[in-house]
Amino acid sequence: MPDAEPTGDVLLYARRKAVFPKAVTGKFRRIKWAVMIVTLAIYYGTPWIRWDRGAHAPNQAVLVDMAHRRFFMFDIEIWPHEFYFVAGLLVMAGIGLFLVTSAVGRAWCGYACPQTVWTDLYQHIDRWIDGDRNAQMKLQAAPWGAGKIVRRLAKWTVYLLLALVTGGAWIFYFADAPTLYQQFWSGSAAPVAYATVAVLTATTFVFGGIMREQVCIYMCPWPRIQTAMLDEKSLIVTYKDWRGEPRGSVKQAAKSDVPLGDCVDCNQCVAVCPTGYDIRKGPDIACITCALCIDACDTVMQQVGRPRGLIDYATLEDSKAERAGAPPTSHLKLIWHPRTLFYLAVWSAIGLTLLFALGTRKHIDISVAKDRNPPFMLMSGGEVRNAYTLKLRNMENRPRLMEIGLIGLPGGVMWSDDMPRSAAARVLRRTIPADQPAAIRVFILVPRGTASQELHFALRALDSEGGSDVHEAKFDAPGDEE
């Protein structure tokens, strides 16, 4: 900071300078409103969308069903053993951020990040209750009195309500929303629901109401990563210092001996900044590229009759080229860097792979766990028996008749612990309940003298849709001691 140049000891702690961003209108403010409305609508609306899945599955379009270990998203149902789909989505989200950064810089930070959206909401509450920037600063400096206390209490109450609504909406993704809504207010919801709401209310209040830009500047890793990802070709909010400097008001310019730049030093760009940063100092972690300073500066430029775009979305490279007289590169062209295309390719490849895996995944599944104690069992007739626990999964929303068959192990027959050995055969049939795994214990018997060997359990659905799965297993037999 130029006004407090540290001498000697560098302090690791910087006291927060309160930010009172001024209201602004313009193109980017309108985009910000639109993005805020869309993102909030998605956040609050999604859990309430209904989706008919038949009798055996919940009818909520997006549901993370912890109790039954299922993740529902419209027509997609993810089982715990398919968690790689979720992992893949997270990887896509990560690379998606890279992609967005490469194409349009910190657009995520500036428009869509929840911290940005909620900080924006809270700053609107400030303006609504305390008035705009100057009124807020005045109230902040004023001594505590009845009026200030009433205003502060009102503001914090609204803060808390907004925080509660924010934290409250989150839980509806984890249970049937209408049911949970009633349970929540009647006090019969699960304790974890109240705990979640309490924690998220607290974090929303603290992050959105109190910490605000400090989260972006000090806590969030993403801006730090951005410093490694942005270069002269990245689209950022740029102050064209070659055009603006030296600064001076219109009056000063008239009196000055040297010609002054376009910047009239009105400080509006700083006044509207939600993080309180002065973009004229150059790119910085504190600039979330929300472009509100562009709106502010354009308004002022229009008033003083100078061309817009003193502060503008531009790459550093373009800013230099423009100084030399070259026309600015179109934003569309900027987006199509080779780097952006590379990220797009990687992102799309993962997405297509996931879609392919999703389209071709099996809807039935068998896994086998062999009894190891004892590994094999000698029967009275001299036959050898092994025991296995089979886990059969029916991932369809209806009960299905399935057939378990033995592959390999000549002479082997199979029965389960709920039927007599006399009914043993090479195949077993079971109806597996809808959307559930079923465990059955089976015994396999082979004639005396059969050696240890591999075998396979094959699971086949016996309805028109079909489908099959195979699992390998081992059959243990005693050695030739006799």
């Binding site: 004892p374 029967m379 709920d418 079923a438």
Partner: protein, 319 residues
């Protein structure tokens, strides 16, 4: 306030010695020219320390804490780890109450007709088996010499649910239990001098012939006569055994004490009489019923009701 404090601090500093090399004040002592710097603990640390002291006092009042001569203080909350265990056990018991009462009111032979109840009973039996039975029968119920393998299809006393339940309830060769399994023991043919060692060897040879392990021989022919006179009453003329007396089938592949000629001879010589506790004196009837269900489910269970021949896969808790 703050100004006053600062003034006082400045006064103090002026009075105290400041170490020139580091600029830190010293504690004021000196040993042969060596001084100690005064770097106080951070305030947050000290405060946390004080809080722990306050907490400890409160804890010592509320909970058992201070050892006395013959006992400890009890604490005003009355908490004990045993009491907590009892409370948690009670909660667990309450949670199981419905299942246990359902198992208790269902005759054991009808359990298989209620697959979900049967599954719960098997699970409960498995847990009880781990505690009470593995010491002799092994963790996988695979048995040990003299302690039967419960996985196979060879039963000394009967292998249907009802028979297993009776065996567990009343034990084997338990004096004082009228329904215990068979008080009459196999004679110790060798030890008691009923047969000579040579005769016992001949019987052992015959038993191996019965089991199809050896071809007939002169020794086994001699043994056959002795067998008919001494053993067939319980084991049957063909050695097929008799469950009423717990006499094992000698013709199958399973040997409780070992199937070599030497171990067979040794077994005849000492006349084993396996025992098992009457578990009704230690376990409640519901646990015993669950144990019977578990043992029956291990793969050798007999007498399935017709309804169990067309079973449904047991379902997990439905949604």
């Amino acid at each position: 306030m703050a100004d006053k404090g600062a003034d006082k601090g400045a006064e103090n500093r002026a009075r105290q010695h400041i170490d020139t090399a580091t600029g830190v004040e010293t504690v004021g002592h000196e040993w042969d020219g060596i001084e100690e710097l005064n770097n106080p603990l951070p305030r947050w640390w000290v405060l946390t320390f004080y809080i722990t002291i306050v907490f400890a006092v409160g804890y010592a009042i509320a909970y058992p804490a201070i050892p006395l001569l013959d006992r400890g203080t009890e604490g005003i909350t009355g908490w004990t780890s045993r009491g907590q265990l009892a409370a948690e056990t009670k909660v667990a018991e309450n949670a199981r109450a419905a299942t246990r009462s359902a198992v208790g009111t269902t005759p054991v032979e009808q359990l298989p007709s209620k697959p979900e109840l049967m599954q719960l009973a098997v699970a409960g039996g498995k847990a009880a088996f781990r505690v009470n039975c593995v010491q002799c029968h092994g963790a996988g119920a695979g048995g040990n010499p003299g302690f039967p393998n419960l996985n196979d299809d060879d039963w000394l006393w009967g292998g249907n649910l009802k028979e297993i339940e009776q065996t567990i309830t009343h034990g084997i060769r338990q004096p004082g239990d009228a329904q215990t399994r068979q008080m009459q023991n196999m004679p110790a043919f060798g030890r008691d001098g009923l047969l000579t060692a040579a005769q016992i060897d001949d019987v052992a040879a015959h038993v191996r012939v019965l089991a199809g392990k050896d071809p007939a021989s002169p020794a086994s022919a001699r043994g056959a006569e002795i067998f008919a006179a001494n053993c067939a009453a319980c084991h049957g003329p063909a050695g097929k055994g008799n469950r009423q007396f717990g006499a094992p089938n000698l013709t199958d592949a399973i040997w409780l004490y070992g199937g070599s000629r030497d171990t067979i001879a040794a077994t005849i010589g000492r006349g084993p009489a396996g025992v098992m506790p009457a578990w009704q004196s230690k376990l409640d009837p519901v646990t015993i019923r669950m144990l019977a269900a578990y043992v029956h489910s291990l793969g050798g269970g007999e007498d399935f009701a017709p309804v169990a021949a067309q079973p449904q896969a047991a379902a997990h808790a439905g949604r």
